[in-house]
């Protein structure tokens, strides 16, 4: 009973407000703007600054809090994704299920499709483009735009910043286009 309850996924009206509270909480703790992608910059500054001015700053003073935060996110991912994992296939809408089935996805268990995320798929050209190419574009684009779904999508929008609105519209439009136009070529058949 309790076991079943702990493993059940949370509805949007629990998830969304908690995300908002995390953003408010970071400000209250130490005036930190909620955002994840800046941690990628701090990782570069800490481990491989090279001769690049963009990575030459006091990453401990500016970014150590952010690195502590994302180490927490990794741990939270283990707690939520392994210890409290949803035991059933995800309940996306029938329309979404049909659309993804047309793409070539048949296994709806887990957090990501087994058919797409494995070392074997990574060793194929399609898998390499999807996993390494996708990851690279995420890192490049978020640094260029100065934020991602959290920094612009939550913090910036909640602070009514026009640059964040522009970024959010841009990444949603590009995300939809990529899902419709590029993803069909990357799913292994």
């Amino acid at each position: 009973m309790i076991e079943e309850l702990l493993h059940r996924p949370w509805p949007w009206y629990v998830t969304g407000p908690l995300v908002g509270l995390v953003a408010v909480g970071l400000l209250v703790i130490g005036n930190k703007p909620f955002g994840v992608s800046s941690s990628l910059r701090h990782l570069c500054a800490a481990f491989a600054p090279g001769d690049v001015a963009y990575f030459r700053y006091d990453w401990r003073g500016v970014g150590l809090w952010n690195l502590a935060f994302i180490v927490g996110v990794v741990v939270g991912g283990f707690v939520g994704g392994v210890l409290l994992a949803n035991l059933h296939p995800i309940a996306i809408t029938p329309a979404a299920q049909a659309s993804l089935t047309t793409l070539g996805i048949h296994d709806f268990a887990g957090l990501v499709p087994r058919e797409l995320f494995s070392w074997r798929v990574l060793s194929t050209l399609k898998g390499f483009v999807m996993i390494v190419g996708g990851g690279f574009l995420i890192g490049f684009g978020t640094a260029y735009a100065g934020g991602c779904t959290s920094g612009h999508g939550i913090t910036g929008l909640a602070d009514l910043q026009l640059p964040s609105l522009i970024t959010v519209l841009s990444f949603f439009a590009a995300g939809a286009a990529a899902s419709f136009l590029l993803l069909p070529f990357l799913v292994p058949r």
Partner: protein
């Protein structure tokens, strides 16, 4: 109703980082919210990007419904953080806006084909999906950010 000023604000970047444990714990909570709320789910992201379900949009709307009034309240009360700093979000400079359109679009393409954004990327490393293959995507993201830093002087902003 102004909150009485506490200790004088510490210089932001030069003081030794404090309350690291609090940021870590907040990160753990966020990681749990991301996974239990299925925001790390490739299926949920592609459902939203293909306009086949409202889940992600409802999460965003309800997150903003909490964060926006929360920020406004902290701002109006000129609240101070536990560290004593005055709470304020630095405004983002619009400039010509190229970086927001181009950077957003590049990120969006990566988001669309990988079905994962940066927060979930880290959470999925913790969840160990695909036998740990997300670590590769994470390293690729770091490489992408590094490449941006390297090319930055030559890119339009």
């Amino acid at each position: 109703m102004r909150v009485a000023p506490a200790a004088p604000a510490a210089p932001a970047a030069t003081s030794p980082p404090r309350l690291l444990g609090a940021y870590f714990v907040t990160g753990v909570l966020f990681g749990i919210v991301l996974t239990k709320g299925e925001l790390v789910s490739w299926f949920r992201i592609e459902e939203a990007l293909r306009f086949k379900g409202p889940y992600l949009y409802l999460v965003f709307a309800s997150a903003l419904a909490v964060a926006a009034p929360g920020f406004a309240l902290l701002d109006r009360r000129r609240a101070r953080a536990f560290t004593g700093e005055a709470i304020s979000l630095p405004p983002k400079v619009l400039g010509r806006g190229v970086r927001y359109i181009a950077g957003g679009a590049i990120f969006g393409v990566g988001w669309g084909i990988l079905g994962v954004c940066p927060g979930p990327l880290f959470a999925l490393v913790g969840a160990g999906v695909g036998g740990g293959v997300m670590v590769v995507a994470c390293l690729a993201a770091v490489a992408g950010t590094w490449t941006y830093g390297y090319l930055r002087p030559r890119l339009p902003h």
